[in-house]
């Protein structure tokens, strides 16, 4: 298993390096701005550092979700594109083990992003003057929507990756999936069927993400060809 995970790391190394930069860079910029005294109005209550980190944490979280689309879309199709999947197919390793190794990397990546950013946001929010329960609800709603977008990115990428030979198409498909969900909600909104658009998005993502992940996994496990 160690070698399979190592192989996955090597296949996705570029994505991980770019992802790490996107994860760390906003915070680095926020720290630099705070050090230079540049930042949004802190209302005299919060420090410039806290105000900057709130923005960088949110930005880092959102941008890092894009990496999940890349990891999902790249997971299986990349080995089909260069036909190394054929080499793997004649080695004595089960599809389930291959998938487990392929899942380890995005799971680790998602855990890292969320742990780091939630910790930062938790510390920062405690310092900010956020009056009332409504704001807290809004923060949690935004975090939920971000997390679900990441899940949709990954699971749609995973499904397309298991079916296609091109990681580019898989990644593009994953990236436009949330947009399609939003667009599908627009006619419902016009017809006054939707009362809260964010709930439409939330529940659609909640249904779509596991469905795509299960379908992609099932397709890969059932498929005889590499």
């Amino acid at each position: 298993m160690k070698w399979l995970i190592w192989k996955e790391y090597r296949l996705n190394r570029l994505i991980l390096i770019v992802g790490a930069v996107l994860l760390i860079a906003p915070h680095a910029i926020a720290l630099y701005f705070a050090w230079r005294g540049i930042g949004p109005p802190a209302n005299g209550v919060a420090s410039p550092l806290a105000a900057n980190l709130l923005i960088s944490g949110g930005y880092s979280l959102v941008i890092s979700q894009l990496m999940l689309a890349f990891l999902g879309g790249h997971a299986i199709a990349c080995e089909r594109a260069d036909r190394s999947a054929e080499f793997l197919a004649y080695l004595p390793v089960s599809r389930a083990r291959i998938l487990a190794a392929k899942l380890t990397l995005p799971l680790f990546w998602a855990a890292l992003i969320w742990t780091a950013n939630l910790l930062i946001l938790r510390l920062v929010i405690a310092e900010l003057p956020l009056p009332g329960k409504r704001v807290e609800e809004q923060v949690w709603l935004m975090l939920s929507l971000t997390a679900l977008t990441g899940l949709v990115f990954f699971s749609v990428g995973w499904l397309l990756s298991s079916m296609l030979e091109s990681p580019t198409f898989s990644i593009c498909g994953a990236l436009i999936a949330p947009l399609l969900i939003v667009m599908a909600g627009i006619p419902l909104d016009w017809m006054n069927i939707l009362h809260r658009a964010e709930l439409w998005y939330l529940f659609t993502c909640l249904a779509l993400a596991p469905a795509c992940f299960i379908a992609g996994t099932w397709y890969y496990l059932r498929r005889v060809e590499p």
Binding site: W3, K7, D82, F87, Y90, L91, P92, V224
Partner: protein, 304 residues
């Protein structure tokens, strides 16, 4: 059940069929390859050799029919099968970004019966540099790496799909003499497909000729060569020959020359031809595997 599987043929195909849409790639192929034998599978391009081999290895679904390799169904138990079979594909898709030593480490971690001694010996025999990246290996070296990976876990069956394709004559000779012969002499079962019929004649115990997905011939090489002959009959001026004898594989009349390739040759068949009024005299010619193969293919093309 297990004993039966272990004592049975190394490969057993029964009515194996593969369709790609409307195209019939393999047509009700039935075949048995005994354990310890070397089987050469030959056929023109598009005959279905690689498709058959991929189905044997569980890399391609089967439309209908049954496949058993070492008593194992490749689609039901692929991992168990691949632990016991070594495979060298037609094209080599080893991870190009890995170093040779990394490829070896990767494969070593997956095989239960990896034999480090065999691996080291073959690494030395082939002159492969463990530090070299796969993308920097020549075509010949890549074939050797594939072969090394296929044999280092001491497989019971070795399946080689046109392993010498693209190799220069020197590399081919090295491969045949230094490698394949050693493997054949180890008593492992070997199935290989090739376009180079000399190789089959040199190495194989039995040969199968595949044409448009059908197995035309499946016989021991020596027996096939001993019983398949070409008869060159000289015709009397202006006369046409009667029907050819039974078991005629291919025939051609050109001027006064009538060439007939017959299977299960007997002197009686030559006498039957000579007895025809149109025939002046006959000559029996031994065939090499290459000529024999060409005649089988030409005969099939003429029939269809």
């Amino acid at each position: 059940m297990s004993n039966q599987a272990d004592n049975g043929p190394a490969i057993k195909l029964a009515g194996l069929t593969k369709r790609f849409g409307r195209t019939l790639a393999v047509d009700k192929l039935s075949l048995e390859v005994p354990r310890g034998s070397t089987f050469g599978l030959i056929g023109p391009n598009g005959a279905g050799k690689s498709t058959t081999i991929k189905m044997l290895m569980g890399l391609l679904s089967v439309s209908t029919g049954e496949v058993r390799v070492l008593g194992i169904d490749p689609l039901a138990e692929p991992v168990r099968l691949k632990q016991r079979v070594g495979y060298v594909p037609e094209t080599h898709h080893v991870y190009r970004w890995m170093r040779v030593e990394e490829v070896l480490g990767f494969c070593r971690s997956l095989y239960d019966t990896w034999n480090e001694q065999t691996c080291r010996e073959m690494l030395g025999l082939f002159g492969l540099d463990p530090r070299k990246k796969v993308k920097h290996l020549s075509k010949g070296m890549l074939v050797k790496l594939s072969l090394l990976l296929a044999v280092s876990h001491d497989p019971e069956l070795l399946v080689l799909d046109e392993p010498m394709a693209g190799l220069d004559p020197v590399a081919r000779e090295e491969f045949l003499d230094g490698v394949l012969r050693t493997i054949c002499e180890r008593g492992q079962t070997v199935l290989f497909s090739t376009h180079t019929l000399d190789d089959v004649q040199r190495l194989a115990d039995t040969v199968g000729i595949l044409y448009e997905g059908r197995l035309l011939v499946h016989r021991e090489v020596e027996a096939l060569l001993a019983t398949t002959k070409r008869i060159r009959a000289t015709l009397v001026d202006g006369c046409r020959p009667d029907s050819p004898p039974e078991e005629t594989i291919w025939q051609r009349v050109q001027g006064r020359e009538w060439l007939i390739t017959v299977g299960d040759f007997t002197e009686e068949k030559a006498r039957q031809i000579l007895a025809q009024e149109a025939v002046d005299h006959v000559e029996v010619i031994d065939l090499g595997l290459e000529d024999l193969f060409k005649d089988f293919v030409k005969g099939q093309r003429a029939a269809s």
